[in-house]
């Protein structure tokens, strides 16, 4: 509890004690002494509200809570209902205190949850270890991370071996091993050995800072319920106030007209009861709190949601479009078969590796990796750049280059067809790179990718979460796509797509769904930024360390487990359920109170209890969104 809250608590206690004492004293009903004595607890508990109300009037802000509370309680005092006047003020303050305490607490809880920001970095100065502000560490500095400490800045290990706990980043507690030359990310906890790390980024650009930035600024995009509530709050209070005025005036006038006792004070009392219920607090606080807790809970599970609007959209997802490579499959390609024609297999691999040497595509990498392991590869790797010229990448087809003066074409069957080169029959279980040297067919290299172990379960879980259609997009050939789609029981797939085709396909799929349904695209964030932004919700997977993906996506899965897709949908659904529970519950109770108050069943006590009670329950309900199974 902070200072401000403690002060209010003390005032609440004093006012409550005073009130009880006054109620026990044998004071004459309606006497001036009784009025004067009740003014003491009234001012103790309400002076700040009266002050704010006065300032509000000065600033012409008539419909603020303070003003309404002031009118309601002053009215009650004027009607001789001293206890009620004090009690309303008292409970209003209790409600406000609870609200500010609960909000403060969940604010701290959630920030603690997301607090992966390291406080210091250790550097060697004159042979001694010194703790410095990580902000002051320049790129290329050697920092030392002891067991149990957080890695403060992204870098590369230059000495030591250890296992790292990445759970703060990914939500998964599988340790990763790190040794010399491994890239390590800030926010991971070093568990076993001392590591010396050469930093490759500044603190502000490091993973931990980036993620924190993202989460802290997450909710600047507001969801529909949030916008509804702020609009509702703006309308609700004035409407209730006008109703109160009408209630105070119309029935007595009617009664006068038909010649009966107007009962002014009874109707005035009912009107004041209205004012007590006019504060929209419960709603206004519980909705953003729910979203905040939902975003917090999701980030604990390794899912970063960039705004409460995306949490809302996630819950309405009906179609999921997945990229194949790196999303459903490991994205780790290995050369599994070499089929040379008229040359040695090492030589075939060399032509392919050299031609592809400038490409970062995972397939090219695997060819290069395989080549490095051969006898030729060890010898000539260094001089390779001198042997290659005129490299041209043909998107969706392959590469052509001059290697040792010879024209080398390597790529898929489409490339060979366009060159008019006949190829051998190749297996369909993976990606095939055909190689032609000086337009002469020299064989193919088969590269296969493995499905992730959780992919099948992930698809089943998505179906269970109410996804109607799961579609896979891939640049791979039809046969590979077909076998993956069958194995995972996907609803549909589109193969042999160029990056630009993926956007077109997503657009086609978007046209097939209604406005209320949402299309979610999951990719690994490499090369699919346009698709990520075109889909209703773009999800980047395994985005640890990839700034571009974090930038482009709306939802970021910190590790590359496809199970997280269904999980994030589950989190969003729970969050939305709580949001609607709170909206219906709070508005329902308020309307019920208004009706009961108008007909005289609910008095002011009832109104303030209902008002504060609803808020407490709504806040407690909101905090539930933080808990993620």
């Amino acid at each position: 509890m902070n200072k401000k809250q403690r002060k209010v608590l003390i005032r609440i206690i004093i006012a409550a004690v005073l009130m009880v004492v006054l109620l026990l004293l044998p004071l004459e009903e309606g006497s001036w002494l009784r009025f004067a004595l009740f003014l003491i607890p009234y001012f103790v508990i309400g002076y700040d509200i009266l002050k704010k109300a006065f300032k509000g009037i000065m600033n012409r802000q008539v419909f603020d809570e303070n003003f309404l509370m002031a009118v309601a309680t002053i009215g009650a005092m004027a009607l001789g209902e001293y206890t009620e006047g004090v009690a309303v003020m008292l409970f209003y303050q209790i409600g406000e205190l609870f609200q500010s305490y609960a909000v403060g607490k969940s604010r701290r809880n959630i920030s603690a949850l997301m607090d992966i920001r390291p406080d210091y970095a250790n550097i060697m100065v004159d042979g001694k270890l010194q703790q410095v502000d990580p902000d002051e560490v320049a790129i290329g500095t050697e920092i030392i991370v002891q067991p149990g400490e957080k890695i403060p800045i992204d870098g590369i290990v230059i000495d030591g071996k250890s296992s790292l706990d990445t759970s703060a980043l990914t939500g998964e507690s599988v340790p990763r091993t790190a040794g010399v030359d491994s890239e390590v990310l800030s926010g991971c906890i070093n568990m076993t050995g001392v590591l010396t790390i050469r930093t490759t980024k500044e603190f502000g650009e490091s993973t931990a800072s980036k993620i924190l930035d993202l989460v802290e600024n997450a909710s600047s995009k507001k969801s529909q319920p949030e916008n509804f509530i702020s609009k509702f709050a703006r309308v609700y209070t004035p409407v209730v106030c006008y109703l109160a005025v009408a209630l105070a005036l119309l029935p007595p006038i009617m009664l006068l007209i038909i010649g009966k006792d107007p009962l002014w004070s009874q109707w005035l009392y009912r009107a004041l009861t209205f004012l007590v219920i006019s504060c929209p607090c419960a709603l206004v606080i519980s909705i953003p709190l729910t979203f905040f807790a939902g975003i917090g809970g999701a980030s604990k599970a390794g899912v970063l949601v960039k705004g409460s609007n995306y949490l809302e959209l996630l819950s309405r997802t009906k179609v999921v479009v997945l990229d194949k490579t790196g999303t459903l499959t490991e994205g780790v390609f290995e050369v599994t078969e070499i089929h040379p024609v008229g040359i040695s297999s090492d030589k075939l691999l060399e032509f392919a590796a050299l031609a592809e040497s400038f490409s970062n595509h995972p397939i090219s990498k695997s060819v290069k990796d395989a080549y490095k392991k051969t006898a030729l590869g060890l010898d000539i790797e260094q001089s390779s750049s001198e042997r290659i010229s005129d490299v041209k990448e043909i998107s969706g087809h392959g590469v052509e280059a001059k290697v040792d003066g010879m024209q080398v074409d390597c790529g898929n069957i489409k490339l060979m067809q366009s060159l008019g080169i006949k190829v051998d029959e190749a297996p369909t279980s993976g990606t095939v790179i055909h190689v032609a040297v000086d337009k002469e067919y020299r064989g193919y290299i088969l590269i296969s990718d493995k499905l992730k172990s959780t992919s099948a379960d992930a698809v089943a879980a998505m179906k269970l979460a109410g996804i109607r259609k799961i579609v896979m997009l891939t640049g791979d050939n039809k046969e590979v796509a077909d076998s993956v789609a069958k194995e995972l029981r996907l609803d549909d797939y589109y193969a042999e797509l160029l990056p630009a085709d993926k956007v077109t396909k997503v657009e086609e799929l978007l046209e097939q769904i209604s406005d209320k349904e949402q299309l979610l695209f999951v990719g690994d964030g490499i090369n699919d930024a346009p698709v990520l932004s075109r889909a209703d919700i773009g999800v980047a997977m395994g985005a640890l360390g990839s700034d571009a993906a974090i930038e482009a996506a709306d939802v970021v899965l910190m590790d590359d487990d496809p199970m997280k897709i269904a999980k994030s949908i589950g989190i969003s659904k729970k969050c939305m359920r709580i949001v609607y529970e709170n909206i219906y519950f709070a508005i329902g109770i308020k309307v019920a109170c208004l009706i009961l108050g108008a007909v005289g069943i609910a008095n002011m006590w009832f109104a303030i209890f209902a008002d504060v009670g609803v808020m407490v329950l709504a806040v407690l309900n909101a905090i539930r969104a933080l808990r993620v199974k």
């Binding site: 603020d64 802290e216 600024n217 909710s219 206004v284």
Partner: protein, 72 residues
């Protein structure tokens, strides 16, 4: 140009009012207040002087909710 400011305010409805007040200030293209993270992000109109506009924003916020603060 978009900037984010730290704010201090006690009630959620007041935060909404601050947002409304900020939005209606001259030189502000759009504004959003996040009560949970206590942050106000303001998008300024082209050519607006952020510092001067924020002075006005603070003044307008003080009118709707006296007990608030924007850390400029």
């Amino acid at each position: 140009m978009k900037k984010t400011y730290k704010i201090d305010v006690d009630c959620a409805n007041c935060a909404n009012k601050m947002e409304e007040a900020a939005k209606n200030t001259a030189g502000v293209a759009d504004a959003s207040v996040n009560f949970m993270t206590l942050k106000m992000s303001v998008e300024f109109e082209e050519g607006a002087d952020a510092a001067a506009v924020m002075e006005e924003v603070l003044k307008n916020c003080k009118i709707v909710e006296d007990d608030c603060e924007i850390y400029l």
